[in-house]
């Protein structure tokens, strides 16, 4: 909990600082014909974000230091659901812990493939592999998913609604 939150506040700070520098380059109020220029609002938002992320970082550090006594309500709340998933993961084989990243990679591969081999082919492959990856080894159900997804997509989107597919 502590480390990810610190990473998060660091990232938010860095990105908002970078964007704030960009925002400084936008025309200010006196350079345009309107009363408030396009710079004021995003700049304000970004500066506040920077301040808030520092605050978050400090709070997380403080909460970590005296973790014993003032464990911070937020941390307690965050810890609760994490325990559940932790228990789940402990039971499962190592593969399933990284499975969501594999799935993500697969989705990305599918999206790229769509533009090369066409939507239908890519979708069939994706549905089949994704179902297998998610732990279903039953050939029949893989076939069913594939067929259902293809029919669903092509009938509902293409035929019924006339939405051009990617």
């Amino acid at each position: 909990m502590r480390i990810p939150t610190l990473i998060f506040s660091g990232c938010v700070f860095a990105v908002s600082a970078f964007l704030a520098v960009l925002a400084l380059g936008l025309p200010g109020s006196d350079e345009v014909s309107t009363f408030i220029g396009p710079r004021l609002w995003p700049l304000t938002v970004l500066v506040i974000t920077m301040l808030l992320s520092i605050l978050l970082g400090l709070r997380t550090l403080a909460a970590g230091r005296n973790a014993g006594e003032t464990a911070g309500e937020a941390e307690e709340r965050a810890a609760a659901p994490k325990d559940d998933t932790g228990a789940d993961e402990a039971e499962s084989p190592a593969r399933s812990r990284s499975r969501h990243w594999l799935l993500l990679a697969l989705v990305i591969a599918w999206t790229v493939a769509m533009e090369f081999v066409g939507f239908a082919t890519a979708t069939v492959l994706f549905a089949a592999v994704a179902t297998w990856l998610l732990g279903n080894r039953n050939v029949l159900s893989i076939v069913v998913t594939t067929v259902v997804s293809l029919v669903l997509v092509s009938v509902v989107f293409n035929e019924l609604l006339n939405i051009p597919l990617p």
């Binding site: 609002w41 808030l52 709340r77 279903n136």
Partner: protein, 496 residues
């Protein structure tokens, strides 16, 4: 008026028109339930089909689809945390935890009932008060919209989770909303020279990514994928639940109508404001976000009421209140009708038929939602291993179809990963959505207001409605900040 309504009823009860209404409700159900496919797109797609119909049937069809998509977005929102429409984002906030607790049937029941009640209240308001409400809506100009957006943003304080994270989320959302060409001066902001970013980041990729995709990723990481969801039975009329949510239903429906009639605000905002009010008025605000019945009732009653409310300025003034109504307005024109201040008096028969049609649609939602979801829930018996990929496919195709843009698909996947990671630190994702929805209203209307007043900020306080709204917002913020101090003080007093 009664006579006009009866005439309208006679028109609606013609077999052909009933068939049209039924099919419209069905199309709306399917379309609304698919993530990424919203009412706007459905109405656009069916527009050419309506050219062959007579005007009354055509508008019954379009408005019925519009009404039923707003409803059916809740189904996937509650079952998979994949909001079918932007209006249903808030519903997932309490609906999905309920499903996880194995109470999907209860959650859906509350959602259906609240939608039907909200929709009916909205329709009745539409029928009875249209001219009056329209003149109220005209009182709202830029300063009032700005004040409303500020009030909406204070919702962050009542979201129930970590305030600091909530604020950061809202700020991220507000920032995302500034990307693209500035609507007031046409300056490009943060587009990095990319045309894809020029008109900003659409709401659909954000919602679909952060909610639906991140949830699929999460479930893929867990090992629950072999488990199929439990069978459930939907109970729409549940005395105990009804007693619990009746106040919320009444408040949210009225609030929904009020927000819905304002041009350019829309049902999503109505759902958010109504949710926050439900938290604020609740005696157990800590239960929200964990499967609270009122947390489903509030946004659903409000978004359906608001959807009907958005028709008020359309019928009374020819001014569309939302994206979908803007397209319905275009359809009126293509049918040779002239929307405008004289529209209602000139086309009374058509309008009353549409009104009655909408009332019947709300009844149909109540009657057919259950069998429709029952069929859909067959899908639930499919193991998640098979369902996950199907959800992803729907998300990708739906997102693509909004603007025919592959860029949006990539954005959506990016937001999916971001949403997944943010959930790890228990980040209130909904705060980001809030910022994205309300940000453009707040910024542009603030600047427009100053343009109206030649730069005089007193405008916000001299106009009664904006002054009241801003005072309420300031009051809420002060209360939220002072509440912990007050509690500590009381504790100390009690201890002494």
């Amino acid at each position: 008026m009664l006579e006009s309504l009866l005439n309208g009823l006679a028109v609606v009860l013609q077999p052909m028109n009933l068939v049209i209404l039924l099919s419209a409700v069905f199309i709306g159900f399917v379309g609304g339930a698919l993530p990424g496919l919203s009412g706007v797109i459905l109405v656009v797609i069916l527009l050419p089909v309506t050219y062959g119909m007579d005007s009354t049937s055509a508008f019954m069809l379009l408005t019925a689809i519009y009404a039923s998509t707003v409803f059916s977005g809740l189904i996937t929102s509650i079952l998979y945390r994949a909001p079918g429409t932007p209006e249903a984002v808030m519903t997932s906030f309490d609906g999905y935890p309920m499903t996880q607790k194995g109470e999907a049937g209860k959650a859906l029941g509350i959602g259906i009932l609240s939608s039907a009640i909200g929709g009916t209240v909205g329709t009745v308001a539409l029928i009875v008060f249209t001219p009056l409400l329209a003149s109220v809506a005209l009182q709202f100009s830029s300063p009032e919209f700005f004040a409303l957006a500020v009030l909406g943003l204070t919702v962050v304080a009542s979201l129930g989770s970590d305030l600091l994270l909530g604020l950061i989320g809202a700020m991220i959302g507000l920032f995302i909303a500034t990307i693209g060409i500035d609507p007031v001066t046409a300056t490009s902001r943060f587009t990095f020279g990319s045309l894809n970013l020029a008109s900003g980041i659409n709401l659909i990729p954000i919602i679909v990514g952060m909610f639906a995709i991140s949830e699929v990723l999460k479930r893929a990481g867990e090992n629950s994928s072999h488990k199929a969801m439990k069978e459930f039975r939907i109970r729409i009329f549940d005395g105990a639940v009804l007693k619990k949510i009746r106040t919320t239903l009444a408040r949210s429906s009225l609030l929904g109508v009020g927000v819905g009639i304002l041009p350019g605000i829309g049902a999503s905002t109505a759902a958010m404001i109504s949710y926050s009010e439900a938290v604020r008025w609740s005696r157990h605000p800590e239960c929200f976000g964990k499967g609270e019945a009122n947390g489903i009732a509030a946004p659903e009653a409000a978004n359906n009421a608001a959807a009907m409310g958005a028709l008020v300025p359309l019928f009374a003034l020819g001014i569309p209140g939302s994206g979908t109504t803007a397209i319905i307005l275009g359809a009126f024109v293509m049918h040779g009708l002239q929307p405008g201040p004289t529209f209602m008096s000139a086309n009374g028969e058509l309008i009353y038929a549409v009104f009655v049609g909408l009332l019947i649609v709300n009844l149909m939602i109540l009657a057919f939602a259950k069998p429709f979801i029952a069929v859909l829930s067959r899908l639930l018996n499919v193991p998640y291993a098979a369902l996950g990929p199907i959800i992803i496919i729907c998300c990708v195709v739906g997102t693509y179809s909004v603007q025919n843009s592959m860029f949006d698909v990539w954005l959506m996947l990016g937001f999916g990963v971001a949403g997944y990671l943010l959930e790890k630190i228990n980040f209130p994702l909904v705060a980001i959505i809030l910022g994205v929805v309300l940000g453009p209203i707040a910024e542009s209307e603030f600047r427009r207001s100053l343009a109206m007043s030649q730069g005089d900020p007193m405008l916000f306080f001299t106009r009664p409605i904006s002054a009241t709204l801003l005072a309420a917002a300031i009051g809420i913020v002060t209360l939220t900040l002072l509440a912990p101090l007050w509690k500590r003080h009381r504790r100390r007093v009690a201890a002494a």
